[in-house]
């Protein structure tokens, strides 16, 4: 979707503000939210791609004004409501409605460290050979899907060079919407700054983005 989350190339957000000696969390609620995100049981349909899409669907004024862990709060609540795991009344009150059965399958504290080490592996076998070769010129398609995609607006319609091939990877555009993993070849494509931003841009700098095969066409 062409949402506010797709920030590459936007003006008006001000300078970067690095913090000296930045703490891991700026408030305890941020730490609790991190722990909830990692430790709480999730509706199984909320995979990483769906999670990112739910975050993208935060209305623009809230996306820009609320902080990162608040995005997590809003996204987790949206997932709970969508899955029917909680009602708006329960989210407001903090208490389970009458007649709710208590689950007993939540992650235990001693499972957290093992879970942290568990790699989500996103590579998949793809039966078709890769369409593009190293060094080939490709154009990022000018597509504007209303659902989830990882093709940033700033590369659409632009020509780049295939730099790396990563094999088959789960396609977020499909996986986010419960339509299966639909794996495709994944490539790193290098675009020159001038191709993306015009003649005023630096003549010898470039941007590399990881793009799935269906995002690309020969150029």
């Amino acid at each position: 979707m062409n949402g506010v989350h797709d920030m590459g190339g936007m003006h008006g957000h001000g300078p970067v503000a690095p913090e000296k000696g930045e703490p891991v969390f700026h408030a305890r609620w941020e730490a609790r939210m991190l722990g909830i995100r990692r430790g709480a049981t999730f509706p199984s349909e909320v995979n990483i791609d769906r999670w990112r899409h739910i975050r993208e669907l935060i209305p623009p004024h809230l996306y820009l004004s609320r902080s990162y862990y608040d995005h997590w709060y809003m996204s987790y609540v949206a997932a709970l409501l969508q899955s029917g795991w909680a009602t708006a009344e329960e989210i407001k009150s903090g208490h389970a409605g009458s007649g709710t059965a208590k689950r007993n399958d939540a992650m235990r504290p001693d499972q957290a460290w093992e879970s942290q080490k568990t790699r989500g592996v996103f590579t998949r076998a793809v039966e078709t050979p890769p369409l593009f070769a190293m060094g080939q010129r490709v154009r990022a398609r000018n597509i504007n899907p209303s659902g989830h995609t990882r093709l940033p607006r700033y590369v659409r319609g632009r020509v780049g060079i295939v730099g790396r091939h990563h094999g088959g990877h789960v396609l977020p555009d499909s996986n986010a919407h419960g339509k299966g993993e639909a794996p495709e070849h994944l490539y790193t494509v290098a675009f020159s700054m001038q191709e993306l931003w015009g003649a005023e841009a630096s003549p010898h700098d470039e941007i590399c983005a990881d793009l799935w095969e269906s995002y690309l066409e020969p150029a």
């Binding site: 957000h13 930045e22 909830i36 430790g39 349909e45 209305p59 609540v77 689950r103 630096s202 799935w212």
Partner: protein, 213 residues
């Protein structure tokens, strides 16, 4: 089940129903999840402890220092970072497929995620606030030299800047240049010099002060 298309009509309403104070909201959410048996508060403590005390940039720094002193390790790291880092034991959440980018006098690599906040958690810990914020996500792909200057890093025109936008599940770690004057340092002493910012690509690794003179 989640409703699917047209999903974008229902999520936003859910998103806007929440009250304003995040500390209060989060506490209320934790109470509800605990009551429903969806979370064990002690498991939340365990996750917080892991990211506050155990998983942080010292992991990435150890890999960088090893690469500086061990050319065979460095070669393996650059050709197969995922396999090499797996042997060190640092793969995991948000560090599942890794590519290491070598900074040289000719090429300076810089990592961003313009679409969300992808970051190699298993190697650098949780991302700093500026990495997740709009200014960095918006500008590092369009105006990286000025962004670097805001971090105090001025690069000459002869250096090529390569910006890596983390749009897939590949996580990038920058291998910074080893600073001059560090020949006599041990691997552990070298690791202590390596900063998080240098492994994102917004800084260089500085030599220790006594070595500079």
């Amino acid at each position: 089940m989640l409703k699917d298309h047209p999903h974008h009509h229902d999520h936003p309403r859910a998103h806007s129903e929440v009250p304003s104070d995040p500390a209060l909201r989060t506490k209320t959410l934790e109470s509800l999840l605990t009551e429903k048996g969806l979370v064990d508060p002690a498991a939340i403590d365990a996750w917080v402890d892991a990211y506050e005390k155990k998983i942080g940039p010292r992991r990435g720094a150890a890999i960088v220092a090893r690469a500086w002193v061990d050319p065979a390790f460095k070669a393996r790291l650059l050709s197969d970072a995922t396999g090499t880092i797996e042997t060190v034991g640092f793969l995991g959440r948000e560090a599942q497929h890794v590519v290491v980018l070598e900074n040289t006098p000719a090429i300076h690599n810089l990592v961003v995620c313009t679409l969300c906040s992808c970051y190699p958690w298993g190697l650098l810990g949780l991302p700093p606030r500026w990495y997740k914020a709009a200014p960095y996500r918006a500008r590092s792909v369009m105006d990286p030299r000025r962004v670097l200057a805001e971090f105090g890093l001025a690069l000459g025109e002869e250096v090529e800047v390569r910006v890596w936008d983390s749009t897939a599940e590949i996580r990038y770690l920058v291998l910074p240049e080893r600073p001059a004057g560090t020949d006599g340092l041990s691997e552990a002493e070298l690791a202590a010099l390596v900063t998080r910012d240098a492994m994102i690509g917004v800084a260089k690794v500085e030599a220790p002060k006594e070595a500079k003179a």
